[in-house]
């Protein structure tokens, strides 16, 4: 049942998304006031401020929003599919494969487009390896898939360390930035926007089946869910979404793990609400984190992955604590 609370939550998240985008456009080394920003967006006129907003901040803001939304959606799906609250978009080794490929491109001195392309290829390669190795059997495949993913990730980790320890100092700096997740080179591509929209629609179309899957594969199957094909669809969608996110901004941690849990804790447990909410909150969260990363010790820019953890950890702990206090009072 859709309740007024659900609708209010969605409405509030839309408001937060809009506000976070405006804050991101206004903040930076050239601060722009809210009224200036609105007039600037409204009518075209020449000037440095407009150039900064439209050509620098706008693409970066949208890249951040798309990346955050992709990661949060992928996190929701992985947590349900693997039935593991610790699952995140990278748990099956997607970021490891992307990282090795991206770092190799950095080592070869290639440009940002080539780095992004090789990251995407690395992500797809890693997905292929993990799914190929874990086989296609239905029963207890979640655990085998999880183990395969974790082990393959460890392998990628070793390769990443080899690349880091054997590279020249100046390329190590860009490698570390890439590994921590960074939006400074990011531009939203048509591919990533398409993957986000198509992925969102696919997930919404099987949202109620995801509610069933939440209570176990047998429960879902006995209620008419075709578990095998649903799992394939969801793994495919989640992997592609993660691959796009990693390609846009490197391996940004925390968004995919924390955002779905935050929403579940405040009552969005139904996937028909949780899925759109995650996209909105994941996007807003990363946009805000990137605004902080750009401005907190300007002119130096921090990698956004550091900020997602610094904001995300206390925010999550506060929600977890207030939720525990609430349920203690109820019982």
């Amino acid at each position: 049942m859709i309740t007024r609370r659900h609708l209010l939550l969605l409405l509030a998240l839309c408001g937060i998304a809009l506000a976070s985008i405006l804050i991101s456009l206004a903040s930076g080394s050239v601060p722009i006031s809210a009224s200036d920003l609105l007039s600037l967006l409204g009518k075209p006129h020449e000037g440095l401020e407009q150039q900064v907003v439209l050509e620098l901040r706008m693409p970066r803001t949208f890249a951040a929003f798309i990346t955050g939304a992709l990661l949060a959606l992928s996190g929701v799906v992985m947590q349900v599919l693997l039935r593991n609250p610790l699952a995140d978009p990278y748990i099956l080794g997607i970021s490891g494969g992307a990282s090795v490929a991206a770092l190799s491109a950095i080592l070869l001195g290639l440009g940002s487009v080539a780095i992004a392309n090789s990251a995407f290829a690395g992500a797809i390669l890693s997905i292929t390896i993990v799914f190929g190795l874990s086989g296609r059997s239905n029963t207890s495949s979640s655990i085998r898939l999880l183990l395969t993913g974790v082990v393959v990730s460890a392998g990628w980790g070793a390769l990443i360390n080899i690349l880091l320890t054997t590279s020249a100092n100046n390329s190590v700096y860009s490698m570390l930035f890439w590994l921590m997740g960074d939006l400074s080179q990011s531009k939203p591509s048509a591919l990533s926007a398409t993957v986000l929209i198509v992925g969102l629609l696919i997930l919404l179309s099987c949202a109620r089946s995801l509610n069933m899957l939440n209570h176990g594969e047998r429960h879902a199957a006995s209620l008419g869910v075709n578990v095998g094909s649903l799992r394939m669809t969801l793994f495919g969608a989640a992997s592609l979404m993660t691959a796009c996110a990693v390609t846009l901004a490197g391996a940004i941690g925390f968004v995919g793990l924390i955002v779905p849990h935050m929403l579940r804790l405040i009552g969005a447990r139904d996937h028909r609400i949780l899925i759109p909410s995650s996209a909105l909150l994941g996007g807003s969260f990363l946009v805000l984190a990137d605004s902080v990363a750009r401005t907190v010790i300007a002119p130096i820019q921090l990698p956004v992955g550091v900020i997602t953890a610094l904001i995300g950890v206390p925010a999550f702990l506060i929600i977890l604590r207030s939720n525990a206090a609430l349920s203690a009072r109820r019982s």
Binding site: M1, I2, V80, R83, N84, P85, S205, C206, R208, S209, N211, M212, N214, H215, G216, R218, H219, A221, S222, L223, G224, V225, N226, R264, R269, D270, R272, S327, S331
Partner: protein, 264 residues
């Protein structure tokens, strides 16, 4: 009293069904015939395949050989969705790692009845509320399922099955976690529903007396693929039960009812 097969259509039948799990033969050449309105009790020692049989009948686990027919049509010819409108199963245990309220969980029984994009409506909510009320758990409708007691959780599973509203009810140890009054009450609810709506009920249980009270037919599994199947009065004898359980079982008669208990 058993229905004569010619008077009613078989809801479920199996032909030469054999089940083999992990290389172990559980039952061999089983020919079940469960007419509409009937109740079948599945009894037998641990590990003889009661749960595997129920899962095979719900097509959650492939049968090793033989055929299962539902309303005269091969079980495998039904899509998952069609099957979920006809067959509902009460599992022995629940996987509750993820949060959900009692009401949300019970609502999952309406999933097979709704098209993909449709939200549950007033009618669905009324059915769910009615099922929760029948099982006496409407007071915990907003509580997280992970905080329910064992008995409340079991009644929620039964309520969910009622909201699913199938023709064939497969019950795996329905009396689990329930006190003696609730055991009788919940089985009476299901039994009455099956009789009134010409459904059928198959329950696997360790409680011989519960099976004796509610079932017309009994399938007594002995192990190594062997079984005794027939009308209640023919199967539930001290001799059969003592052989199956490898333990001396005594019988006690009071009025029309038979009671079985291990010899002291």
């Amino acid at each position: 009293m058993s229905d004569s097969p010619t008077a009613s259509i078989e809801l479920l039948s199996t032909k030469a069904l054999s089940l083999c799990v992990a290389g172990k033969l559980l039952m061999n050449d089983l020919n079940l015939c469960v007419p509409q309105g009937a109740s079948l009790g599945v009894l037998g020692p641990n590990g003889t395949g009661k749960t595997s049989l129920l899962h095979a009948l719900a097509n959650l686990q492939g049968s090793s050989s033989g055929q299962i027919q539902l309303l005269g049509k091969d079980l495998l010819a039904y899509s998952r969705k069609e099957l979920s409108l006809l067959v509902g199963i009460l599992m022995q245990s629940a996987d509750d790692e993820m949060p959900a309220s009692t009401l949300e969980f019970a609502m999952s029984g309406r999933h097979p009845h709704l098209p993909a994009w449709r939200w549950e409506g007033k009618d669905d909510l009324a059915r769910v509320s009615e099922a929760l009320r029948l099982l006496g758990i409407d007071s915990v409708r907003d509580q997280d399922i992970r905080t329910l007691s064992g008995g409340e959780r079991q009644r929620l599973a039964i309520a969910t099955l009622l909201t699913q509203d199938p023709r064939l009810y497969l019950l795996d140890e329905p009396s689990n976690h329930l006190d003696i009054a609730l055991q009788i009450k919940s089985l009476e609810i299901l039994h009455t529903k099956v009789k009134n709506e010409s459904g059928a009920l198959i329950m696997a249980t360790h409680d011989i007396n519960l099976a004796s009270r509610f079932c017309d037919q009994i399938l007594l599994l002995i192990g190594d693929g062997q079984f005794i199947y027939g009308d209640r009065a023919d199967v539930l004898t001290t001799e059969n039960l003592s052989t199956a359980f490898d333990c001396e079982i005594q019988q006690f008669t009071k009025g029309p009812s038979q009671f079985f208990f291990p010899a002291t």
